[in-house]
Symmetry: C2
Subunit: 312 residues, 2 copies
């Protein structure tokens, strides 16, 4: 079988309705990984060449064993490090770069505003029926390090600058003409930072990147935010710093994840936790649909796919 | 006594330290309205010509009876409607226009993000030690009406556009070349609005401006935000809409205010309340200090004061 006559498997049925029609002659099948007994028959799976994986559904990877003709996988996640080793050699992998920028950046902004303006405290006050205002910190005038300066980090920087914050971008390598610092400069930069936001993927260079040394370099009362991957931040070192009240944190990703019931992070002082919902908002779907439609057209036309992720 | 030899009363002692020195020969006194027994002696009060009132301190107005030489009052609030009638005839009034833009706009943004991304829900989940993510609404792609398009509304619009929201500005009069609609267009605009933000001062034209008719014109699941003045939004009409789950709300100001214990708004479904803390953040102080220093210099030089508020 050549790529030309291999079918496509997508997670949502109504894409073509909203975005025009599918290319002539292309077989397009649907599996959402959620509806019970919805897996296509093996005779359909035998013909799938491009699989757009369901997003945010644990265990969807099980289908890989039943896709003998698979040539390419489109993940809707920005981070595909844990998926990559599961794919057979020769299968191309495309990631969801860009799909989560707006959603994740706005959650990061929401976490920062929640922490600086004490929104969880006011929610508790409301639940207690109390009206007792006090002054809070602000985001305006804060110096915010955005550590991991890819497309999500850059989308966050745009939002932060609109809020009159000063952005200090940090990437793996310095890009002096864009004002981007290198991660090797981090401990020198941190003493002047009010808010440190981690937007890092998980790989050998980033696991544990923000540990006791980096936390110690932050000034008193600084806020640590993580919307990237949980393992890039040392949980035990963070717990030690927040236990004394010296630092605060707002985390959408954690290590371990999911955070088990009874884990000390849930009750640590000055820590606000959301359960990895950065990418999981209404902003994701229209952007994901536009990418899927573009990829299916490229697939049918025999063109290069967008967002290729290098395989080892 | 002429203005030239009248003294100034300010709420914070260390302004001159941070911003240079006071003009030569000018008497500058301090009263914070909070420290017990800190009121200046009557012989000092007899010489006060310009009073910069303490901010956010109830009852400071009591000093007005003891300021016989008063010529001008600088309020640090943006809204001075309730202060104005208390001032003797002939006393000039200057307001805090601009001081609260960054602080109030960022709280409004925080309230919108909290509502769209369900931050109060995640705070409650954290308190229960639960990790149970689900998809949420987003701010990106939303159509947000900013009703009351002065300096705070404009600062909010900048932040919303950076979040990939579409802004529909509404002011008392249309300004077609700036894309600003008139408040008379409101009910025609509202059916296409996802988030309606009230940033209105309180006056005869705005009290009750957003009532049952305007709320009914909003589509299902729309969010109503108020960071202006509580009485511009009809509390009973809002309670009726949120009780059915048709609309949601996030309120930094309420009617009545402060909201008394046991008021149904505290427990209304889909309503998030903060206790009038829009202007009360760290962003306020440096901006207020810059205004006070500028006004004191103008006072000493006999120049026109900034931010005059018209008196009837």
């Amino acid at each position: 079988m050549t790529r030309a006559n291999l079918d496509v498997l997508i997670p949502w049925p109504d894409l073509a309705v909203r975005h025009g029609s599918w290319p002539d002659g292309l077989g397009v099948h649907v599996w959402d990984a959620v509806t019970p007994d919805s897996e296509p028959d093996q005779e359909v799976l035998d013909r799938i060449g491009l699989w757009v994986m369901p997003y945010g559904v644990g265990g969807a990877e099980r289908l890989l064993e039943r896709l003998p003709a698979l040539r390419a996988v489109q993940s809707l996640s920005a981070g595909v490090e844990s998926l990559e080793p599961l794919l057979p050699a020769g299968v191309r992998l495309c990631n969801g770069r860009g799909l989560h920028d707006a959603s994740t950046a706005e959650l990061a902004l929401g976490l920062i505003l929640a922490a600086q303006r004490e929104l969880p405290h006011w929610a508790a006050e409301q639940a207690a029926g109390r009206w007792a205002p006090h002054r809070t910190r602000s985001l305006a005038d804060s110096r915010v390090a955005v550590i991991g300066y890819g497309s999500i980090g850059s989308a966050l920087a745009t939002r932060l600058r609109a809020c009159e914050a000063e952005v200090v971008p940090v990437a793996s390598r310095a890009r002096p003409d864009e004002g981007v610092y290198a991660v090797s400069d981090l401990t020198a930069l941190l003493p002047d930072i009010d808010v440190a936001v981690l937007v890092l993927p998980e790989n050998a260079a980033t696991v544990g990147l923000f540990g006791a040394k980096q936390l110690a370099a932050l000034p008193d009362d600084a806020l640590v935010v993580n919307v990237g991957r949980g393992r890039t931040l040392d949980t035990d070192a963070l717990l030690a710093e927040v236990a004394t009240g010296r630092l605060r944190a707002a985390l959408d990703v954690t290590d371990p994840e999911p955070l088990p019931a009874g884990h000390p992070l849930y009750t640590a002082p000055g820590v606000f936790i959301t359960p990895h919902v950065g990418g999981g908002s209404a902003a994701f779907r229209p952007r994901a649909e536009r990418l899927i439609v573009a990829q299916v057209r490229r697939w049918a036309a025999g063109e290069e796919l967008l967002n290729p992720f290098p395989r080892g």
